[in-house]
């Protein structure tokens, strides 16, 4: 279980995050949703230790940790593939830097590529394939970190609607096939409702949770089901209320 307590950060005197709390059970999938500019990406930078926290406690499986650097893999909206490496070399990079032998990391990458529909594309350069394939490669690279936790920062928001829907199915595999514990930030309500066990609606500046929704419908979920639509309407209304205060 991941527990985050009391996280606070100010930039130039302005509180971005103030007393933020969150907990995710082992193998859970939690989505954070909120207006743009609410400090979601800053929260990830704080959790990963890229930017120091003013205060806050993090614990994983009961053990306090300074940050999630050694525990989590991080995937962003931009695929951040290196154009001078092939897709396979890109995916292998975290394992290579960690000193995993070539044959072993190659086998792991090929397995992942097969799972993510990239079989046979390992020797392609990123510039030669579509945005959806690049992002699937980035997803494979995220798994090659070999970490229990995955932080997803709007991972699909640069993709078109159809590609995004396909990628959402792959994201679900993180939980179901790869047993990861996932924290995802998104501003796509439907995406959050499709994938998450817990949905946290957050407000902007300072960021705090204004509504928690537990979603216990089995996955994969049907976006056309009445119960799905009812929750979607409720969340949209809540978000609009936060974004437009009058």
């Amino acid at each position: 279980m991941l527990v985050i307590q009391n996280v606070a950060k100010r930039f130039n005197g302005h509180p971005i995050v103030d007393g933020f709390e969150l907990s995710i059970p082992l193998n859970g999938f939690t989505a954070l949703i909120g207006p743009s500019g609410c400090g979601k990406s800053t929260l990830f930078d704080l959790l990963m230790g890229v930017v120091p926290m003013d205060r806050g406690e993090i614990s994983w499986q009961g053990e306090p940790v300074a940050d999630l650097r050694a525990l989590a893999a991080y995937m962003q909206q931009r695929d951040l593939l290196l154009p001078w490496f092939t897709l396979e070399e890109n995916a292998c990079l975290p394992a290579e830097l960690a000193g995993v032998p070539l044959a072993e990391r190659r086998d792991r990458a090929r397995e992942l590529f097969a799972t993510f529909g990239l079989k046979g594309f390992g020797h392609y350069l990123p510039d030669m394939v579509s945005g959806g394939m690049r992002q699937r490669c980035a997803l494979a690279r995220t798994l090659m970190f070999g970490r229990d936790l995955v932080l997803l920062d709007e991972p699909l928001s640069a993709l078109d609607a159809i590609t995004r829907r396909i990628l959402q199915a792959y994201l679900l595999l993180l939980q179901t096939a790869f047993d990861r514990t996932i924290l995802m930030v998104t501003h796509d309500v439907e995406e959050a409702l499709l994938l998450a066990d817990d949905l946290l609606v957050v407000t902007a500046a300072p960021m705090r949770i204004c509504e928690r929704i537990h979603l216990d419908q089995p996955k994969p979920r049907d976006t056309a089901a009445p119960s799905f639509l009812a929750i979607k309407t409720r969340v949209m209304a809540r978000l609009e209320k936060e974004a437009i205060p009058w």
Binding site: M48, V50, R69, A73, Y74, Q76, R78, L80, L82, P83, W84, F85, L93, P94, L97, A98, L125, D127, M128, F145
Partner: protein
Amino acid sequence: MVGARYIHLVLIGVGIGLWEAGCRLSGVPDFILPPPTRVFQVALGEAGMLLPHAGVTLLEILLGIGLALSIAIPLAIGMHARPAVEKALAPFLIASQAVPVFALAPLLVVWLGYGLASKVLMAAVIIFFPITVSLLEGFKSCDRQYRVLFELMGATRWQALHKLYWPWALPYFFAGLKVGVSVATIGAVIGEWVGAQQGLGYLMIQANARLKVDLVFAAILWLSLMGVGLWASVGIAERHYLWWKRSLKEG
């Protein structure tokens, strides 16, 4: 379009034609301005005499480029890795450019003699600055999110340099190197003017003194061809090392 591809050849041809016509119509004597046909005649006819001199100058330039690279690359890496190093060295780097390098040429000859060393150093002093600055700019232009990614993957400094910063900066490096090789010729020739026993610059000074202007022009022609050849070599190296960019161009 074929016309656009060969337009530079057409322009050169027109220029040479005007020069030739001007010389013939005005009757300027050869020892003031020889016509291009005369220059080509000397450049080819005296090739046996020009070649050893050209070889010396080319060697000076190549050694100068090598020396400049062996200073510029570690310097740029060091300045990028440790901002304190950059802060400490930047004023000297800029000052080194403020001093007219040509003013140093007589000194270098006094210190290093009439041989290769003074010319090699001359060429190196001129070109190491554009290479260092462009490489450093290349390192600095690396996207923050990529740097964070490498940090989170636990990359060592060496790994980040090898897999991220160096390939990222390579296009900048080649831009600097292209500027460098084009001006390297200037350094070597100036060095030879000031004091040498061989080389195309030496030959030019000798020929000039004897009013053999056609030989001066022939030497200039050889120098220009060397410059173009160096530029083209860098272009070939660039396409070789930036192979991953070519796929972008070809779409």
